[in-house]
Symmetry: C2
Subunit: 415 residues, 2 copies
């Protein structure tokens, strides 16, 4: 507890240093940190192999082991990530608005760092360098809390990055790793409101729920995606097959993958057999309502839970509707406000769907897989927000900033 407060105090103390840095100084430090990662890859790989041995001994699955594993190539990719962040424009200090009041007060709204960002994440050690880079670029101090499985790897990466900061004359406390893996201490961390301005959880739905329930620090909720594609009666059915196939199977373990298909009854008889043929290539399991199962007798029965599920697997739920309005109501009931899509050639129906579906990203005739900071052209991504406060959808550098009002007067007082 005392140690936690000390971490918070040190992070807070580094804020003025970070906020006083020019864009060039920050970019120099990022490039230097990138080269330090490459130069010290041996130490990082050694720590990672200890994590790998321990995880294998604990019976970690091969998929998870692959996420944990670092190689020279993966360390090089982390370094490249920092170099890419250095190349992005610096948005801190930008004058967002400026106006003069009738009493002569000149009010300027200026973009500033959030301050201290806390990030709680799981498994993949590359998040360590990535989250540091994004926060540092935006003038934020960061306290990282990684998963227990990656604790040696994360500590090695953080040591290299901190040493690089210090060598560049920057306060090392701009980056701190919280290594205690005790759950009750983690919960205390979520209440460090005096020192941490925002907490971003990255990981499983369970991790995110725990942070939302326990944190007194403002949270940006990220990640859970029960994404829908609605195939309208006026859809180009070949296009619909391509889009659903891509959104369901191109990468299954991601939050912008399609989990549920909604299909208009006027085209389901033609469309569903076309879709099944494509999805059979990837052995996708289909779970549908009664009308779906009349057309595709092999498919399983969908329950309420199926319509609410984020499978992250080769499974798709299917629902038949008789109108776009019914499709919208179904989606607004079950979606996680992440990404939903309509496939139709009817512009009026499409505009209604775009307007009425309540999600961060609503698509007309494109795969939900595009919900991504890089695909949106932000050049970086710290996560995908599924809440409505502060940021919605892909979050890049700007979403790691706040603003302040600077008010310049000449002695004005209020009457």
């Amino acid at each position: 507890m005392t140690d936690l407060r000390k971490m918070g105090e040190r992070a807070a103390a580094s804020k003025p240093v970070l906020q006083g840095m020019t864009a060039r100084e920050k970019n120099d430090a990022l490039l230097f940190a990138a080269s330090a990662l490459r130069a010290h890859s041996g130490e990082i790989l050694k720590a990672n192999s200890e994590d790998m041995d321990a995880a294998a001994g604990n019976g970690m699955s091969s998929g998870m082991l692959d996420r944990l594993k670092l190689t020279d190539e993966r360390i090089d990719a982390m370094a490249q990530g920092l170099e890419q962040i250095a190349a992005l424009d610096d948005c801190v200090g930008e004058v967002m608005e400026e106006f003069t009041r009738p009493n002569g007060l000149r009010i300027r709204k200026v973009r500033v760092p959030l301050g201290v960002v806390g990030i709680i994440y799981e498994a993949r050690p590359n998040v360590t360098a990535d989250a540091f880079g994004l926060c540092f670029k935006t003038g934020n101090a960061v306290i990282l809390k990684g998963g227990s499985d990656a604790v040696r790897s994360n500590a090695a990466i953080v040591k290299v990055l901190r040493d690089a900061l210090v060598e560049k004359g920057v306060c090392g406390d701009a980056l701190q790793l919280f290594e205690d893996t005790d759950r009750s201490v983690t919960v205390e961390f979520m209440k460090l409101k005096d020192f941490v301005d925002v907490l971003i959880p990255r990981g499983s739905a369970g991790l995110i729920r725990s942070v939302v329930e326990n944190s007194t620090i403002p949270v940006i909720e990220t990640g859970t995606g029960n994404c829908h594609i609605y195939v309208d009666r006026d859809a180009d059915l070949d296009m619909a097959v391509r889009i659903v196939y891509n959104a369901k199977t191109q990468r299954i373990g991601v939050c912008n993958a399609c989990e549920s298909l909604v299909v208009h009854s006027a085209v389901s008889g033609t469309f569903l057999p076309m879709l099944k043929k494509a999805l059979d290539e990837k052995n996708v399991e289909l779970r549908g309502d009664e009308r779906v199962r009349r057309i595709l007798p092999d498919s399983k029965e969908a329950s309420e839970d199926d319509y609410a599920a984020e499978y992250l697997d080769y499974i798709l739920s299917l629902k038949t509707v008789d109108s776009p309005e019914e499709a919208i109501a179904h989606i607004n009931r079950y979606n996680t406000k992440h990404s939903d899509c309509i496939v139709t050639e009817n512009e009026q129906t499409a505009e209604m769907f775009l307007n009425q579906v309540d999600a961060a990203c609503v698509y007309w005739n494109a795969s939900t897989r595009f919900t991504d900071g890089f695909e949106f052209g932000f050049g970086a991504e710290i996560g995908i927000s599924t809440q409505k406060l502060h940021a919605r959808g892909p979050m890049g550098l700007k979403e790691l900033t706040s603003y302040k009002y600077e008010i310049r007067g000449s002695g004005q007082v209020r009457g």
Copy 2:
């Protein structure tokens, strides 16, 4: 608990209706609601007099009774408030950004309502009409939870407003009052995350703390203001007296009032006696450090708690510093990130202060009392945010909105 979920479901069900309304339809309903308040003032005053009798019986202070009391003039002011909101521009639907990606996807960032806003507030019944007006104008459904002292007044106001909505063909569930005053039910309300998109507490520091600690709904923290004025060695001392006098005494019970004075040692010997002379008119109690008390022997000793206090009273803490840097460090340690001011004729010192003080509003040569949605020209105010997520400083209509991305494609899939 079940009743709470039903309220949430009803609020959520009203969202599509609200979001489908044009600016004109919303403004018509607001104007009609304003005239309904005037037409039904008798019922509202009757309910209010019952609240007043009960509160007087419970020994409520005369200051609090005055806040609770409604009159024909105060009801007319509530109605005028709704009329003013109707006259403001509608920001919902605004295209905030629009860009086309190399793959042809057209991405449009559109301003949308937050959805369902929960507001927990105390004492003053005028907040009921005001909060409704701001939320309704921005297309949000609202669930209000007022203080137990004003429960009859609030219920009467809400009945008039709901009836007006229904008469205008709008879903009455766009406005709901949560009347249960049991604390544990209030805590359950703060966990109604499936239905409520944001929770805004308005009231005492204790109320706000309780919401931050208990809510799983994203919260916008408002209101606590330990505002500082720093009188620099290069200050125009007459201007400094006017600004401190205004910020301290013009209205004491508000969050943008000055609570602490920081003074440079080079001018404290001249300035403090000038200031004391002015503040003595209002019998302001001064609590200073040792150097202050050497100059003003009548003043009391300031403790650590004094420097952290939001007095909301005729009390001022005073701290002597030897440099602007020391002033900035003191302010960043004790402020509540609300509003702080420097009085100086030195532009370089002023710019350093504006840049380095971490607060929603930082002033150069003007009273902190200007931190206010109306004074900023927003035309309305739902509160003053002291957090960094989503909104900072005065919150008007735009701060009651979120955004969504509409993405229009022609069959794009991710490679």
